[in-house]
């Protein structure tokens, strides 16, 4: 079997440990191994894999395979960072007994993902600490949109009843501050309910999924070539990263590799996306502590990047660039010159703007020790990306699971232990500087040749995991193909879904007026979460 040498000992160990209980193993790709077993193996398998091999459960989702295999399937995607591979556990859930045992007590990070499975597939959770609705609001009728017998265009009856039942917080002097879904700033919708005693926050309840758009269902209803454009609309600020993760999954399902030049161009675009978002966030964090000048400079720099994006790809948010098999547009000498020029100009400009922050003691005073997410809490919640790296979790798919052209580059990953707003900003500052250097390396080493190859019709019944380290954190797209170049399932995992619960922890004990800056330091995507 085609299994990477690093994963092989782990798999052998698993087969020994769970002798006779692993029903099948197959590895469509060297770093992606599927293990089929019964439902009752999940808890033991997960505990063993996480304890013995430091695996991370990065995605938990369901798939309605009743038509072909007379069962729902639950998938558990484990990332083995040290072994640079994925082990995916698949277990059936019988349609006549649609329930499964929760892992959330052992792995709090899957809390929302499990509830999403319960809402969208109607598989009942057993033993979940908080099995209330998550993806569908409380006023939705009893429907399970991701089941195959539910039509995408179903028109549901009008709303009635309560939107969401919040947990009451009581006590002398305790009162509640509801915020949203329509916020004061130009941001996405979500509801935050603060329970406060005086100014400090005692408890924060999040209510999201206001922008649930049926995206995953829509993937099943569009031809594959249109799905790429849909992937660009999962989270606008990560258009290219999501579209590329999707393309990566499609390419892996078709067992094709993209041309070298396409890989480099993908990495360049991913770094440009990282640049404009990080620079924008650094400015926005400063705005939230009333240092507007820095924000103006950051927006000016961000605009420079967006215009280069437009020059390179025809769109400021890099839309329309991604396609399965490579990228749609090549860069000519003039475009590459403009890109190099951008780095040359931006680097000193950015450094001098960062110096303004570093020399402002009143700004630093607001950022330091604000919104602290302790490494232990981050680890328990499985926090990834910027927030993870600011709280001691040394990981980055670009280094640990090289995709695009990242295997050709040396990447420094900034990691801090403090976990406060300042260090989430510092991770961004370090990564901006790293991106400058990566873009320079990519341009210098850019190979020639085609930028795109034809993929042809996808084989039916294939499964594949695509992954990309977006600017916010790791993005996963898992697909199962259907006949006729269509998808039977596309599971989208944005890092925001993983990180939102961490915000509730980081804000504890902070004052309500610091919430905006704490929130901004995470800058999670509502649309990426809600889909």
């Amino acid at each position: 079997m085609n299994i990477s040498t690093e994963l092989l000992p782990i798999l052998t160990g698993l087969q020994k440990r769970f002798r006779g209980r692993i029903e099948a193993v197959h590895s469509p790709r060297a770093n992606e191994i599927y293990v089929h077993a019964k439902l009752d193996l999940v808890a033991g398998f997960t505990a063993h894999l996480c304890r013995k091999w430091q695996a991370r459960l990065v995605s938990l989702f369901a798939d309605d395979a009743r038509e072909t295999e007379a069962a729902f399937h639950l998938y558990h995607v484990f990332a083995l960072d040290a072994a640079h591979g994925f082990i995916i556990l698949r277990v059936p859930v019988p349609p006549d007994k649609p329930e499964f045992a929760s892992l959330a007590n052992a792995i709090p990070g899957v809390n929302w993902q499990e509830r999403e499975v319960q809402d969208l597939f109607g598989l009942k959770l057993i033993g979940h600490p908080n099995p209330r609705r998550c993806a569908l609001h409380d006023d939705w009728p009893e429907v399970h949109p991701l089941r195959k017998d539910f039509d995408l265009r179903t028109q549901l009856p009008p709303f009635e009843g309560e939107r969401h039942k919040f947990i009451p917080v009581e006590g002398e002097g305790v009162f509640q501050v509801p915020v949203g879904p329509v916020h004061a700033g130009i941001i996405e919708p979500g509801h935050f309910l603060f329970s406060v005693a005086g100014e400090p926050v005692l408890y924060l309840q999040l209510r999201l999924f206001y922008v649930h758009k049926g995206t995953e269902k829509l993937f099943e209803n569009l031809p594959v070539q249109h799905c790429v454009r849909l992937a660009e609309s999962i989270s606008g600020d990560s258009s290219f990263a999501h579209a590329t993760a999707f393309c990566h999954a499609v390419e892996r399902a078709a067992n094709v590799d993209t041309p070298p030049r396409a890989k480099f161009l993908r990495s360049i675009c991913l770094e440009l996306e990282r640049l404009y978002n990080h620079i924008g966030d650094i400015g926005a964090i400063c705005t939230d502590v009333a240092f507007a000048t820095v924000n103006m400079h950051c927006m000016r720099l961000k605009e420079r990047v967006l215009r280069v994006n437009e020059l390179l790809t025809g769109n400021r948010l890099l839309r329309g660039m991604a396609c399965p098999g490579g990228v749609r547009f090549d860069f000519d000498a003039d475009q590459l010159k403009a890109l190099s020029q951008l780095v040359v100009e931006l680097r000193p400009d950015f450094d001098s703007v960062v110096a303004l922050i570093e020399n402002s003691s009143s700004t630093l005073d607001r950022l330091q020790n604000t919104g602290v997410l302790k490494p232990k809490v981050a680890l328990d919640l499985g926090v990834v990306g910027i927030a993870g790296r600011a709280s001691g979790f040394d990981h980055d798919l670009r280094r640990d699971f090289p995709h695009a052209a990242y295997d050709q580059l040396k990447i420094a990953v900034p990691v801090y232990q403090t976990g406060d707003v300042q260090h989430r900003m510092q991770v961004r500052i370090d990564e901006v500087r790293e991106s400058f250097s990566l873009i320079e390396q990519l341009v210098a080493k850019l190979p020639g040749g085609p930028v795109r190859m034809e993929i042809g019709e996808l084989p039916a019944g294939a499964t594949a995991l695509g992954y990309v380290e977006g600017w916010r954190g790791e993005i996963f797209h898992w697909i199962r193909t259907a006949p006729g170049n269509r998808l039977a399932r596309c599971k989208v995992k944005d890092p925001s879904l993983q990180n939102w619960p961490a915000l509730s922890e980081a804000i504890l004990g902070n004052i309500v007026p610091d919430f905006p800056v704490v929130n901004k330091s995470f800058n999670l995507s509502y649309s990426g979460t809600d889909r």
Partner: protein, 286 residues
């Protein structure tokens, strides 16, 4: 303190002079597609590759009506790759007062092989009908005119409340950029405000989701009259790639009345400015 001042002075003024000067947009930027209607031979390849149904055709009794709907166009340019009669322009100022103004169609006689020929009726919409800002208006520049109108109607300013009713946050990204020193929307006396009660205009993005419908209605109801609603982006104008499904209601006008539609995915800041300024002219007509 001196560092902050020094940095500002050395940076200088970066604000653009739009709309006095044309938008600074790369020639490679993909704006609205243009169809050579008279020489269009077959609408099928473009319609098949269009991810949002912005290009479509209807065949009945040997006749074909082919249509381009900017309201759902995401400017991806895939149609232009398969059909040489379609050209991507870098024109981004596409806002319109009525939804119908964004679509154009022509009818053709249908051939047996499925292609079409001979335009029977020309595109229903002539480019000159498009509401564009007239840049050659004499003496007074448009920006100043707008400001005067705003002065008249709103006591020197227009206040905007933004509502994301389901967007992917791409439109928010560009709306936020209006506050950047490059576009500086406040030079027109336009401000983004935190409450609908302070607002004259509602800027709405996204296909309206089932979960945001009530919040959008409540926000609209909370605004004092007279009020304007601007639908932003392909999703806001038509539902975009999401369309109407179990979780979305479609475009903004399926929930509240819309005064101006700004197409794009997302519309760039120039397109947004153009749309907002256009809406203010509309205000005077009311």
């Amino acid at each position: 303190m001196f560092g902050v001042l020094g940095k500002s002075l050395s940076t200088g003024v970066v604000t653009e002079n739009y709309p006095e000067t044309p938008p600074a947009i790369s020639a490679r930027a993909r704006g609205k597609p243009e169809i050579d209607w008279a020489n269009w031979k077959d609408a099928r390849p473009a319609a098949a590759i269009c991810p949002t149904g912005a290009i479509s055709h209807q065949d009945t009794n040997g006749q074909r009506v082919a249509k381009l709907d900017l309201a759902s166009c995401i400017f991806c340019g895939l149609c232009a790759e398969v059909d040489k009669t379609i050209r991507m322009t870098n024109i981004c100022e596409c806002a319109a007062r009525r939804r119908e103004e964004l679509s154009a169609s022509a009818s053709y006689s249908l051939k047996s092989d499925g292609s079409h020929e001979k335009m029977i009726s020309p595109p229903a919409l002539q480019p000159s009908n498009h509401p564009t800002l007239q840049r050659n208006e004499p003496l007074e520049t448009l920006g100043r005119q707008i400001q005067e109108r705003a002065n008249k109607m709103f006591g020197r300013s227009l206040h905007i409340r933004e509502v994301d009713a389901g967007s992917c946050n791409g439109c928010e990204m560009e709306i936020v950029n209006l506050n950047s020193p490059v576009y500086d929307i406040e030079r027109f006396g336009i401000h983004f405000v935190a409450s609908p009660r302070h607002a004259d205009m509602l800027l709405v993005t996204g296909p309206v989701t089932r979960n945001m419908e009530l919040a959008l209605r409540k926000t609209y109801d909370a605004m004092p009259a007279p009020r304007l609603v601007v639908a932003v982006g392909a999703c806001g104008c038509s539902g975009g790639i999401f369309g109407v499904n179990y979780a979305t209601r479609g475009g903004v006008d399926s929930v509240i009345p819309v005064d101006i539609y700004i197409p794009g995915c997302p519309p760039n800041p120039h397109a947004l400015l153009h749309g907002v300024l256009l809406a203010m002219r509309r205000m005077q007509k009311k």
